[in-house]
């Protein structure tokens, strides 16, 4: 058995947390920062660490993710051996209302059995970080850990909404308890353990009616196994509510934050489309913004993120907003602190204003 790692990307129970944005797509497929999707970060991290056997667990609403990932070619995962494997949910899932990933993992155990690799790295898509899986594995081996959970001292923006459980870690790096106060570190929803142990934990948790891998396999077993915490020192952001989504996107407009996440030697892979370059019309006024390819900008844009193919007509004004693919803002429209899902349209003269705690959301394809 080689020393390699099988990657497993899971969609967790609480991933349905971004209101309109996760209405028709899983969290993994939520667009982020101008041209990425949340799953790109963890996929790229794994690929950059040489993890090329990656299973993506599909739950419900998975069509957009299927459509996005396809053969995995954009992440170099369309391979003769290993590569990307899409792991479908079991039909029973819908009927039993099972929300976590455990049932889907159990249903797809074959994927794990067939692999030659010794370890499993399981990760959610709700935390953005460029974790170094190689270093995490080295730490796991060096500590002779049975389970390594990846952690961070703090997130980039303290804007998490759900009460986060934190982990208490002792001097030796061992995780001793779950707590809910100032002390402790944040879990990044990433764990590394041996494949055999992984399967064992999944099997026993299933017998006891478990639903979520982290909650039902790892956390109850802190005292039964050697569970260590590998600290990730770089950028980490948890996207668990609309306000967090908004804040983390906006935060990347600061060059320092940008450098932390994107100016690493390892690339973040994403699927491209053949859109033409961004075109600024005469009279466009844009500053402090990120603009993706295919945009046609004629109006005013400030402190905003424009995804691919967005049209800002002359006379339109966009501030503090996130506009996803092919959104159109017509002449004279004024928007401030708004998130527009794909192909939204803000008609001429319309005024739409949100707040950072509650950005206005225009759902996919809606005309306002």
């Amino acid at each position: 058995m080689s020393d390699g790692i099988i990657g497993l990307i899971s969609t967790r129970a609480h991933d349905d947390c971004l209101q309109g944005l996760t209405e028709q797509r899983p969290l993994a497929a939520v667009p982020f920062c101008g041209r990425y999707r949340l799953i790109d970060f963890i996929l790229s991290g794994m690929v950059n660490a040489g993890i090329t056997n990656i299973g993506v667990l599909l739950q419900n609403k998975h069509r957009p993710l299927l459509d996005y990932l396809q053969s995995g070619k954009a992440w170099d995962l369309s391979r003769k051996r290993d590569g990307l494997v899409l792991l479908p949910p079991a039909y029973q899932l819908a009927n039993q209302g099972l929300a976590g990933d455990l049932y889907t993992i159990y249903h797809n155990k074959d994927f794990l059995h067939k692999s030659q690799h010794r370890y499993v790295a399981i990760a959610g898509t709700g935390v953005i970080c460029q974790l170094d899986f190689r270093q995490a594995l080295a730490f796991h081996q060096q500590k002779r850990a049975q389970i390594t959970v990846c952690t961070a001292q703090s997130y980039n923006q303290a804007a998490y909404c759900c009460q986060q459980e934190k982990l208490m870690v002792d001097q030796a790096g061992q995780v001793t308890a779950i707590i809910r106060d100032e002390e402790g570190v944040h879990g990044l929803d990433i764990a590394i353990l041996e494949r055999n142990l992984f399967i064992e934990l999944v099997d026993s948790a299933m017998e006891c009616g478990g639903q979520d891998f982290f909650r039902d396999c790892i956390l109850p077993n802190l005292n039964n196994y050697h569970v260590f915490a590998y600290e990730h020192g770089g950028y980490a952001a948890r996207i668990d509510c609309l306000s967090a989504f908004y804040r983390h996107n906006m935060d990347l407009l600061k060059r320092d934050t940008w450098q932390q996440l994107f100016a690493q030697p390892e690339l973040i892979y994403t699927k491209g489309k053949d859109e033409p370059p961004a075109h600024y019309l005469p009279g466009a006024r844009v500053n402090h913004s990120l603009v993706a390819g295919g945009c046609v900008v004629g109006g005013t844009v400030e402190n905003s993120i424009l995804f691919r193919g967005v049209h800002i007509q002359p006379g339109a004004s966009v501030r503090n907003s996130i506009l996803m693919n092919r959104t159109v803002v017509e002449q004279g429209a004024i928007i401030d602190t708004v998130i527009c899902d794909k192909e939204a349209r803000i008609t001429a003269g319309k005024v739409l204003i949100g707040t950072p705690e509650a950005p206005a959301v225009v759902r996919k394809g809606i005309v306002m």
């Binding site: 041209r35 060059r255 370059p277 961004a278 844009v286 500053n287 402090h288 913004s289 603009v291 993706a292």
Partner: protein, 376 residues
């Protein structure tokens, strides 16, 4: 065995010496253009959009950058099981080998490739031009007039006629005269370097031309005139869209500026005729708090902290604080640093304008060649 109706042969072997400064490290068709493309992308996309799935790309001068860009042709949907994009470089045979000595010689040395697909027609193209064209319409025309050879022609400004092969035709489109780079042009109808041949006719004349010692083995200078002399039926297919040869610094600059002008007729945003390129995976570009962008095209990954007006910026270009850049074209990774002023210029790959000002004038566009640090 299944045969292809039309196979394209794309001549991409030249340095483009009049574009030197931008071609020190790559063949001309690989030179970036239009913020996210390379010059060859236009011809390749035309092939795909016209339904041609089998293309031989003839390379010779510094092919590394070009070949890496082409790969197996997947970006233009030419990574096929039967057919597809083939890179064809010069090669050794049992009795030695030669570099391609002319456009016709390059095709002649690749007769095996043509015979593999046994096409009815061979479309010879160059990888040097910026245009959108449906070649299948030219094939329809060729069939309708029962030509053995059809040459794509376009009207060029009279001042430029000395750069092209000038073609004289009868009313019905039949070609009666062809002169390369004439001193006294008879008209301003120029050959686009797009030749559609009946395959058998092409092979016959190539084999004959190779035997001739005086021949320079060039389509325009040797093969076409020989066909004309033998009264082979040659017809001119008029093209009325936007077409530019970007073989000189000034014409490259002008064609770039044309992209910023909505009226030129080359619409990069037309979804019915997209221009494809090998994917970039760079991040969205960033406009800083003091950045200003007006009337320009920007590629991915650019960082703009200064003022950009009427420019074309390729990927990862850096425009520093307090700079002014106008009417210019910046190739990938170019940098304009604090306080510099650039006007009417082309800045090559990874070059840096460190301080001072760089200004072109009405006659000459200023050029900072690839990988140069410029300080005035």
């Amino acid at each position: 065995m299944y045969r292809k109706e039309c196979v394209a042969m794309l001549l991409a072997g030249g340095q483009g010496s009049r574009l030197s400064g931008l071609t020190s490290r790559m063949a001309k068709p690989a030179v970036p253009f239009g913020a996210k493309y390379r010059i060859i992308d236009f011809t390749l996309s035309n092939c795909y959009n016209s339904g041609i799935d089998t293309v031989g790309v003839l390379t010779q001068y510094r092919p590394l950058e070009l070949n890496s860009h082409l790969g197996a042709g997947g970006a233009w949907n030419m990574d096929c099981r039967f057919g597809g994009l083939h890179v064809l470089g010069p090669y050794m045979k049992e009795d030695g080998g030669e570099w391609y000595s002319g456009t016709a010689d390059a095709i002649y040395q690749n007769i095996d490739f043509l015979e593999r697909y046994n096409p009815r027609f061979v479309l010879v193209l160059s990888g040097d031009h910026i245009y959108k064209m449906n070649y299948s319409l030219m094939v329809d025309y060729h069939k309708a007039v029962q030509a053995a050879v059809t040459i794509g022609v376009v009207e060029v400004p009279w001042a430029e006629t000395g750069r092209f092969g000038i073609i004289t035709t009868q009313q019905n489109g039949r070609i009666v005269g062809f002169v390369e780079k004439p001193d006294q042009p008879a008209n301003n109808q120029a050959s686009m370097g797009i030749y559609l041949f009946d395959c058998q006719t092409l092979l016959t004349y190539l084999k004959r031309d190779i035997q001739s010692v005086q021949s320079s083995h060039d389509f325009g200078r040797d093969v076409i005139p020989a066909m004309l002399a033998d009264k082979i039926s040659l017809y001119a297919y008029p093209f009325r869209g936007y077409w530019r040869d970007v073989g000189t610094i000034n014409s490259y600059w002008q064609a770039s500026m044309d992209l910023l002008n909505g009226d030129t007729g080359l619409n990069l945003y037309d979804p019915s005729w997209p221009v494809y390129s090998a994917d970039g995976t760079g991040p969205p570009h960033y406009i800083g708090s003091n950045g200003e962008v007006d009337g320009s095209l920007l590629g991915e990954g650019c960082q703009v902290y200064g003022k950009v007006e009427n420019c074309v910026l390729s990927a990862n270009v850096f425009i520093g604080e307090g700079t002014i850049v106008r009417n210019s074209v910046l190739l990938p990774n170019a940098r304009v640093e604090e306080g510099a002023v650039v006007e009417r210029a082309i800045i090559g790959h990874a070059s840096v304008v460190k301080v001072g000002s760089l200004r072109g004038n009405d006659d000459e566009v200023a050029l900072v060649a690839d990988n140069v640090v410029f300080q005035s």
